[in-house]
C-alpha cells in the first residue's frame, strides 16, 4: 500500500519511513503516515535546524519560558510578563496573499493567548519583489489587506515592523508576523495534558477540509505548479478568533483548565500529540465527536485539517460544565472529544474503529535530526569584491532617489491600513525607530522592533547576523529602551543545498555572538526553509524581533528634529563603508561588497550613551543611522515631525563624498541636543569612550550638507518629504 510515490507526496524519505515503521513496530496506515509526515515535516520538527539553533543563548535571569513552547516569556517585574513570538507565513502568502497573511496573523495571536496573555501588539516584517512587476504589486496589496483585515477586526494594533524590497523576493515574498502579549505572571498556561482521565475539549470553529498539508507545503520548494496548491491555504475568521480569545482568557483567568494548545500548523494532530508528549501521558480521542463543517470527511482529513480558530483544552472533570458555560456565553462550542490517558500512545477512534495508535514520543520527539552538509557558496568571492563606484555628480539628486527607494520611502500607504491605535497604548506611531507602548497604570513602557537585512546576510552571513541583532538593539536604544529578549524568524532557501546550510550556520553564529554580547536571551522563533521558487533561493533573511523596556515614558524622545536651533550630535564614526548599501543598489544597481563591519563593544557603548542621555532628559531626539546612511538619516530627522524642520551639517571626514553621505557604517546614532545640555552629553560619551561630535544645527527649511566647506546637498525639506512620501503610492498606483 505504501509506495515511493505516496512517500514523496508526503515529503518523507525512505529512511524516514523505515524509522517510523521501526518505532511503531509495524507498517503505518495511511492516516498514521499523514500524521508523521506533518509532525516530521521541517516546519514542525526543525529537523535541519535543531542542531544549529542550540548555539543561540537562551538563558537569562528574567526568562520564564525559553524556546519549545508556543511563545517565549520574560518577567518584567510588578507581577507581569511579556509573551512574544514571531512566525513566518511566506508560502501561503505567495499562493493566496490575503488569506495567507491574514491567517499568519491569526496563528501568531493564538500562540500568544494560548499562554494566558492578552495580545497587545502586532508587528510585521515583509519582503516583496520590485513593484515594477504587477504580480508583486498584487501580492503586496493582498498581504497588507489580509493583515489589516485580521488585526483590525480582532482589535490588536499593528504598531510597526519593516517592509523591504529586493529581486529575490519576487516569487517568494516574506511575511513574518510578530505578536506580543501581556500576562499576569501567576496566570500563565502551558500546553500540558496532565491528569489521567481529564477530559479533552475541542473549542472554536468546526473542522473543514481547508489547509490539509499546509505544513508539508511549507517544507518544500515551489515549482511552476504551486499555484494549484491554493486549496492548501486556510481561510481566516477574525471574528471567531476574537470570541475564542475572550472565552479562552476568561476560562484561564478563572483557573478552570489544566492545559491549552492552539491548533495551528498540523491542526488536531499537532495539539493531540504535543500536549501529552510534554506531560509524559497519552491521549485518546474520538473523531466522531469533532465538530465538522463538511460531510464525509475521512480520519486523515479531520486530523490533518488546518482549519483556523480552533483550540484544544484539557480541563478537570468538575470544571467542564463551567468551561462550557463560558464558551456558550461567547456563542462557541466546547466539545468533549476524549481524555488524557496513562499513555504512551495517541489513540484515535472513528466509527468504532481504532484508526491511529502510535506513541506520542515517536511522533513528537523522535524525528531524525539532520546535520546537513554545508559548503561555502562560490558567489561570495566575486560578490564581496567592490571597485569604488564612480562618484555621484549630484549628491542631492542621488539623495532624492535613495530616499524614494521603496525600502526607505514612507510606508504610510501601508500602515494607515492597519489599526495601530486600538487598545490605547500606542505612544509612538509607526515609522519611528521602534514601536512604543505604554503599560496602563505604570510609568514604564514596552518597545519592540523587527530588523533584518537580506543583502548584508547574502554578502557576509556571519556579519549580517550580528548586525541584525545590533541594529535591532540600537533601534530600541533610540527610544531609551533596554533590550530584554529576542525572538527570530529565519528565512532561508532549501537546506538540502549545502550553500544554504552554510549561510544558515554562519548567520546563527553571528546572531549568537551578538546576543551574548548584549546579554539578551533568545526565547523562541521560527525557521522557514525552502524559500525557493523555480530553483532560486531568496537571500538569507533572518528577522530579529527584540523587545525592550523603558523605565520612564515621560522621558521618551522620537526621531524628529525641533526647529529651535538644536545642536546635531553624531555618536560613533563615519567609515564610508558602501558595501551592500541601499545607495549602491539604487544608484548603481549593485548588490556587492562587504557589508559594514561591527565592533560589538563599541556598539554597546554607543547604545548605552543614547539610553542614558534619554533617561537623564538630555536630548531632544535620537535616530539610528542605518539603510541609506548619514544623508538619509538626517533627512528622516527633518521629515518625521508633524512639520518639516531643516538642518545644516558641516562634515570634515577624509572620505569620498558619496561614501560619507551614503555609507552604512554601524554603531552610529544621530542626536539633537539643546545648546545648554551639550556639555553633559559630550561628557557622557567621553566617559564611555564613544566618539561624539557636533556636526550641525537644526533650523531653516532646507537640508544642507557641506563637506570641507563645499556644499554637497541643498534641498528643501518639503521636496525631500514629497519624494519620500510619494514613492510608494506612486509605484502602487500603476495599473
Amino acid at each position: 500500500m505504501i509506495d515511493p510515490k505516496l512517500l514523496s507526496e508526503h515529503n518523507l524519505t525512505l529512511e524516514e519511513y523505515e524509522r517510523i515503521a521501526a518505532l511503531i513496530g509495524r507498517e503505518p496506515n495511511l492516516t498514521e503516515l499523514g500524521i508523521f509526515s506533518l509532525m516530521w515535516s521541517e516546519h514542525c520538527s526543525y529537523k535541519s535546524s535543531k542542531a544549529f539553533l542550540k548555539k543561540l543563548p537562551t538563558r537569562g535571569k528574567s526568562v520564564i519560558q525559553g524556546p519549545g513552547e508556543n511563545a517565549g516569556i520574560i518577567d518584567i517585574g510588578a507581577g507581569l510578563a511579556v509573551v512574544f513570538k514571531i512566525e513566518s507565513h511566506n508560502h501561503p502568502s505567495f499562493i493566496e496573499p490575503f488569506q495567507g497573511a491574514a491567517t499568519g496573523v491569526g496563528g501568531i495571536l493564538r500562540d500568544i493567548f494560548t499562554m494566558g496573555a492578552r495580545p497587545i501588539a502586532l508587528l510585521d516584517s515583509l519582503r516583496f519583489g520590485p513593484l515594477q512587476d504587477a504580480r508583486n504589486r498584487t501580492i503586496l496589496d493582498g498581504v497588507v489587506a489580509g493583515i489589516s483585515s485580521y488585526g483590525n477586526s480582532i482589535g490588536v494594533p499593528t504598531v510597526g515592523g519593516e517592509v523591504c524590497f529586493g529581486d529575490g523576493y519576487s516569487k517568494n515574498p516574506l511575511v513574518n508576523v510578530f505578536c506580543l502579549g501581556l500576562a499576569e505572571k501567576e496566570k500563565i498556561f502551558y500546553a500540558k495534558a496532565e491528569g489521567i482521565g481529564n477530559p479533552v475539549l475541542y473549542v472554536g470553529s468546526k473542522t473543514g477540509r481547508d489547509g490539509i498539508h499546509g505544513a508539508t507545503m511549507a517544507s518544500a520548494e515551489f515549482g511552476k505548479e504551486t499555484e494549484q496548491k491554493r486549496p492548501n491555504v486556510q481561510v481566516g475568521d477574525p471574528f471567531k478568533e476574537k470570541l475564542l480569545l475572550e472565552a479562552c482568557l476568561e476560562v484561564m483567568d478563572k483557573g478552570l483548565i489544566v492545559g491549552i494548545q492552539d491548533m495551528g500548523a498540523a491542526g488536531l494532530t499537532c495539539s493531540t500529540a504535543e500536549m501529552p508528549a510534554k506531560s509524559g501521558t497519552g491521549i485518546s480521542i474520538n473523531l466522531d465527536l469533532v465538530p465538522q463543517r463538511e460531510e464525509g470527511m475521512t480520519p486523515y482529513e479531520i486530523l490533518l485539517s488546518e482549519s483556523q480558530e480552533r483550540m484544544l483544552l484539557v480541563a478537570r472533570k468538575e470544571n467542564v460544565a463551567e468551561v462550557q458555560k463560558i464558551f456558550a456565553k461567547w456563542d462557541l462550542d466546547a466539545v468533549n472529544i476524549g481524555e488524557v490517558t496513562a499513555g504512551p500512545n495517541l489513540k484515535v477512534s472513528f466509527r468504532g474503529e481504532t484508526v491511529v495508535d502510535v506513541p506520542v514520543e515517536a511522533v513528537v520527539n523522535l524525528c531524525p535530526v539532520y546535520r546537513r552538509p554545508s559548503r561555502k557558496p562560490g558567489y561570495l568571492r566575486t560578490a564581496q569584491k567592490l571597485d569604488p563606484p564612480p562618484p555621484a555628480s549630484d549628491p542631492g539628486a542621488a539623495l532624492l532617489r535613495v530616499i524614494a527607494s521603496p525600502t526607505i520611502a514612507d510606508k504610510e500607504w501601508i500602515f494607515r491600513q492597519y489599526d495601530h491605535m486600538v487598545q490605547t497604548n500606542t505612544v509612538l506611531l509607526p515609522g519611528a525607530d521602534a514601536a512604543v507602548l505604554r503599560i496602563k497604570g505604570q510609568k514604564r513602557g514596552l518597545a519592540m522592533t523587527l530588523d533584518g537585512n537580506g543583502v548584508y546576510c547574502y554578502l557576509d552571513p556571519r556579519m549580517g547576523g550580528a548586525v541584525a541583532v545590533a541594529e535591532a538593539c540600537r533601534n530600541l536604544a533610540c527610544v531609551g529602551a533596554r533590550p530584554l529578549g529576542v525572538t527570530n524568524c529565519l528565512n532561508f532557501g532549501n537546506p538540502e543545498k549545502p550553500e544554504v546550510m552554510w549561510q544558515f550556520k554562519k548567520i546563527i553564529e553571528g546572531m549568537a555572538e551578538a546576543c551574548r554580547a548584549f546579554e539578551i536571551p533568545v526565547t523562541g522563533g521560527n525557521v522557514s526553509f525552502y524559500n525557493d521558487t523555480e530553483g532560486l533561493s531568496i537571500h538569507p533573511t533572518p528577522v530579529l524581533g527584540i523587545v525592550g523596556l523603558i523605565d520612564d515614558l515621560d522621558r521618551l524622545v522620537g526621531p524628529a528634529f525641533r526647529p529651535e536651533g538644536d545642536a546635531i550630535l553624531l555618536l560613533g564614526e563615519n567609515t564610508g563603508e558602501l558595501g551592500g548599501s541601499e545607495y549602491l543598489r539604487t544608484i548603481h544597481g549593485l548588490e556587492r561588497g562587504l557589508p559594514p563591519r561591527i565592533d560589538l563593544e563599541r556598539e554597546k557603548a554607543v547604545q548605552d550613551v543614547c539610553r542614558e542621555a534619554i533617561a537623564d532628559a538630555l536630548i531632544m531626539s535620537a535616530h539610528d543611522l542605518a539603510e541609506g546612511g548619514l544623508a538619509v538619516g538626517a533627512a528622516e530627522c527633518c521629515i518625521l515631525g508633524r512639520t518639516s524642520v531643516g538642518c545644516t551639517l558641516d562634515l570634515a571626514d577624509d572620505l569620498p563624498p558619496d561614501a560619507l553621505l551614503f555609507g552604512e557604517a554601524q554603531s552610529r546614532i544621530l542626536l539633537s541636543v539643546s545648546a545648554g545640555l551639550l556639555p553633559r552629553v559630550l561628557g557622557l560619551a567621553s566617559a564611555k569612550g564613544v566618539p561624539a561630535r557636533v556636526i550641525g544645527r537644526t533650523g531653516g527649511r532646507d537640508l544642507v550638507i557641506r563637506h570641507k566647506g563645499q556644499e554637497l546637498v541643498r534641498l528643501s525639506v518639503d521636496r525631500l518629504r514629497a519624494a519620500w512620501k510619494g514613492s510608494l503610492p506612486g509605484a502602487l498606483a500603476v495599473r
Binding site: A145, S148, S149, N152, S153, I154, G155, D237, P238, F239, K240, K242, L243, K329, W330, D331, F415, R416, Q417, Y418, D419, H420, M421, V422, Q423, T424, T426, V427, L429, R438, K440, G441, L553
Partner: protein, 227 residues
C-alpha cells in the same frame, strides 16, 4: 455621571472607552453585555467601536438585533443620552436612531490616522465644552466611514444644525483632501433632531491622554459630564 459601555461580540474599543471614562475622566462606568436586558441605571449609553459580529454583513447590521438594543431604543426615546463611536455610529444608523448610512471609504482601504475636525455646533450635550469653529485633532480607524444620505436629508441635517463635526484641514477648511473617507458634506459626526443621540466616526477615547498624542477627545466626554 454613570456611563454604560455596551459589549457586542466583536466590539474591540469597549475596554478603551471604559478605561477613558473610568480611569482618565474618573466617572462611574460599567460594561453592559449585549444579551442582557438591563441598562443598570446609567445616564449615558456608549456604543463602542469594533467589528460587531465581524461586520461581515453591513457594519452594525446584526448588532442592532442584540437583545439590549430594545432597551437602548427606549432609553433614547425617553431622551437618554446615547453616544455611538465608529462601529457604534454604524449601529445607530442601522437602528434608525440617526439618518443615513455608511459606505466604504472612497479609496476602498481601511484608514487609521489622525484627522482634523471642526465643531459645527457647540450647543449640543456632547460639544458644549467646545467653541463653535474649534478645530480638534482625533484619530479615525474604519473601513466604512463614507457617510451617505439623500440630498433632502442632508439639507434637513444642516437646517436643524444636526451636523456636529466635519472633516477639515489643519486650518479648519472643509476641503476635499481633508475629507479622507469621502463623506457627504464632510460629515464626521451628527446628532438626532432631539439632540440626545450622537454618532461620530473619530475615536474620542483614543485622544483623551497627552501621552497618546491628543487630549481633544476629552471635550466630548467632558461636555457630557458637565451637562
Amino acid at each position: 455621571m454613570k456611563f454604560g459601555v455596551v459589549v457586542f461580540p466583536g466590539s474591540n474599543c469597549d475596554y478603551d472607552t471604559y478605561y477613558a471614562l473610568k480611569e482618565v475622566l474618573r466617572q462611574e462606568t460599567v460594561l453592559l453585555w449585549h444579551k442582557d436586558h438591563d441598562l443598570q441605571g446609567v445616564d449615558c449609553v456608549v456604543l463602542p467601536g469594533g467589528f460587531s459580529y465581524g461586520d461581515y454583513l453591513r457594519a452594525g447590521a446584526i448588532a442592532r438585533f442584540s437583545p439590549l438594543m430594545q432597551e437602548v431604543r427606549e432609553f433614547a426615546a425617553k431622551g437618554g443620552r446615547v453616544l455611538g463611536i465608529c462601529n457604534g455610529f454604524q449601529v445607530l444608523l442601522e437602528l434608525g436612531l440617526l439618518p443615513g448610512a455608511m459606505l466604504r471609504n472612497k479609496n476602498l482601504k481601511f484608514l487609521c490616522q489622525f484627522v482634523h475636525l471642526r465643531v459645527e455646533n457647540a450647543g449640543t450635550l456632547f460639544t458644549r465644552r467646545a467653541r463653535k469653529g474649534q478645530v480638534l485633532r482625533l484619530p479615525i480607524a474604519h473601513f466604512d466611514g463614507l457617510y451617505y444620505a439623500p440630498l433632502a436629508t442632508l439639507q434637513e441635517l444642516e437646517e436643524n444644525r444636526q451636523v456636529v463635526l466635519r472633516y477639515v484641514d489643519e486650518k479648519g477648511e472643509p476641503t476635499e483632501e481633508a475629507n479622507v473617507n469621502g463623506s457627504a458634506s464632510n460629515i464626521a459626526g451628527l446628532v438626532n433632531e432631539r439632540g440626545n443621540v450622537l454618532g461620530l466616526m473619530p475615536h474620542p477615547e483614543r485622544a483623551s491622554e497627552a501621552l497618546l498624542g491628543s487630549e481633544d477627545g476629552r471635550l466630548i466626554f467632558e461636555s457630557l459630564i458637565q451637562s
